[in-house]
Homo-oligomer: 340 residues x 2
DNA sequence: TTTGCTTTCCAAATCGCTTTGAATGCGGCA
DNA sequence: TGCCGCATTCAAAGCGATTTGGAAAGCAAA
């Protein structure tokens, strides 16, 4: 069932049918009804390849999967991708995922652009001097950055959460509770967001005339395992840290295990605030004890990015798109006064 | 830079250039060299939409993301998707992810088929009477099932791991160690794989004249939280279970927390074998104590499914594709003799 | 020289849609 | 009546590849 068939069936020209289906104003309302009814009845759907060829737009947006980067395609990416695709599905736009090695990103971009496979890209996990921005700008491929690349001066669209503010507030709160030996289990050190978090941590400490103990700072992947190992090492130091900041709920689980294994009680002997990207399957409220968190839905960010991408396609200049989302601080049972 | 331009540049016809690039035999080797050199130099890449229209193949395969199903788009799906896309990238085939509500799967399939958006689909998380198989078969859309739909008689391609055998062996091993009160934390009950695992568990028990205690069987999502709650409930029963089977590493983490919280020691007071889908960021070996697992890489399964999909496109009949992968049992420190 | 094969290359049709530029029908108005 | 303007509709020209059905060139055999 193609357009021609449908047109023949209706005794109309392809032009009219096409226009009726695509909501052009110059077609009689009665005709439009007739056309869309027939289309539905006969199960007609435009061949996307043909449409794409004719319009010159691919009707797809690309999301790159970091294969060997410090950030894996893990739960965070999955959740983020859900957010994007949920929104895009409503617009009949495909999400094509492209695995990409850290080494040959630019060649892959070049291919993506030349083959007109996608209309825009979503970039994740930026570093401060992210070179992808220049590459894509030069290639003329629209993109939206999830996160920030502080040192890149080229105008570009981004959406980020206020990592610095979140960790500053979390740290301040721990300081208010009397904690001074605070350990920080951050993300991969090269990532902008991790740098921002470290900055927030440091600035809150310094505001009280303290400075972070480098011995109590760790980074790396957001995994249970990494959280566990770092926390275990930190807990062996004397004096022992009385509070932890964890970069993700995964790390927090590992930290929690280490705390238990050391015979300590979370929320009493040791406090913890973790960053919660809001996974539907990992609820800070339901943990025992419930976890205090800095919270920002990564799925919502994905959905919003999809939205902004659509606006960019409608001509909104990328340089005008900058969103910095505030992060909530949600206090629960895992934080308590510092033991004296 | 389009084919026409490239052809003009070379003083050849589009036909010849196209053939040279696509490796047809009837073009002179010297010409081919000249063509591909020029293509490289000028950065020519075929417009995928045009190619797709001309060939009638979309050059993409679809992966559906269950949005509201019992299985979320979580770490498992992410890892699986990595496997697929890794393999497909080598063939310049796009992966398009389509979010899909459990309710309107068939309409979405119908649209996918009619719009010729993808050449084939990957289906995950089947139930025993999975109705998607009939729907897709009827629509003539090739697909490959990750898992099995036992009661569906329509011939179709599938790849699955031997869940039943894995859990039978794991259970047998626990029985060998003297455990008899074994708790099982399974996956979502409607899923075939969970049913198979339950069957393996039961059959191992029955082979020793025992039968599983329904009070010690739980299901649900593969999350830390779910594992924690179920394990905690089970550990309150008397006599207490001395061993756990966990459906995933995520659940296992929760079980582990519950065990610690109950003041018990894993590997001594309580044993556990978890199913490990092999996440790069969650290593059973590095846990403390290290975790005994039934192991099968879900990423490898994804890669293999991609491979099989390619073979299907080359004409291999779907009905002939059935792969049942054995599952390793890897014993580590989390399993020990039953306390007397 | 002709014929018959290969080898190598080409012109033009095709894929199914969008879009341009023009045609048609019809009521209103002078 | 004749012309204009508006609302509809249409025929045909793209979009950029693949592919069909030859054709030209080169060469060996007749």
């Amino acid at each position: 069932m193609k357009l021609k068939d449908l047109a023949a069936e209706l005794g109309l020209s392809q032009t009219t049918v096409s226009r009726a289906l695509n909501g052009f104003p110059e077609v009689n309302e009665a005709t439009r009804q007739r056309v869309s009814e027939a289309a539905r009845r006969l199960g007609y759907r435009a061949n996307v390849s043909a449409r794409r060829l004719a319009t010159g737009r691919s009707g797809a947006i690309g999301v790159t999967l970091p294969l060997q980067r410090s950030l894996h395609f893990g739960p965070h990416t999955a959740e983020f991708l859900s957010g994007i695709s949920e929104r895009m599905a409503q617009h009949d736009i495909d999400i094509v995922v492209t695995p990409i090695d850290a080494d040959d990103e630019v060649p892959v971009f070049r291919r993506l652009v030349a083959s007109k496979r996608v209309d825009a890209l979503v970039l994740s996990a930026p570093t401060p001097n992210d070179e992808r921005i220049a590459a894509l700008t030069e290639l003329g491929m629209p993109f939206l950055l999830h996160g920030r690349a502080d040192n890149v001066k080229i105008p570009h669209a981004w959406l980020d959460i206020d990592n610095e503010g979140a960790f500053r507030r979390a740290t301040s709160h721990l300081l208010d509770l009397g904690h001074t030996r605070i350990a920080m289990i951050n993300g991969p050190e090269d990532q902008t967001f991790a740098i921002h978090r470290a900055r927030g941590f440091r600035s809150a400490m310094e505001a009280r005339g303290l400075s972070p103990d480098p011995q109590l700072i760790g980074g790396g992947r957001f995994t249970d395992e990494n959280g566990f190992r770092l926390a275990q090492a930190f807990l062996e130091r004397r004096p022992r840290p009385t509070a932890f900041l964890a970069g993700s709920m995964m790390t927090a689980l590992g930290v929690f295990r280490a705390i238990r294994l050391a015979g300590l009680e979370l929320g009493k002997d040791v406090s913890m605030i973790a960053h919660d990207d809001v996974f539907p399957y990992l609820n800070a409220d339901n943990m025992v004890p419930s976890m205090s968190t800095t919270r920002s839905s990564i799925r919502a960010a994905g959905a919003r990015i999809a939205e902004l991408l659509l606006q960019m396609q409608d001509g909104k200049p990328p340089g005008s798109i900058h969103e910095l989302w505030p992060v909530e601080l949600v206090l629960r049972e895992s934080t308590g006064p510092a033991p004296r």
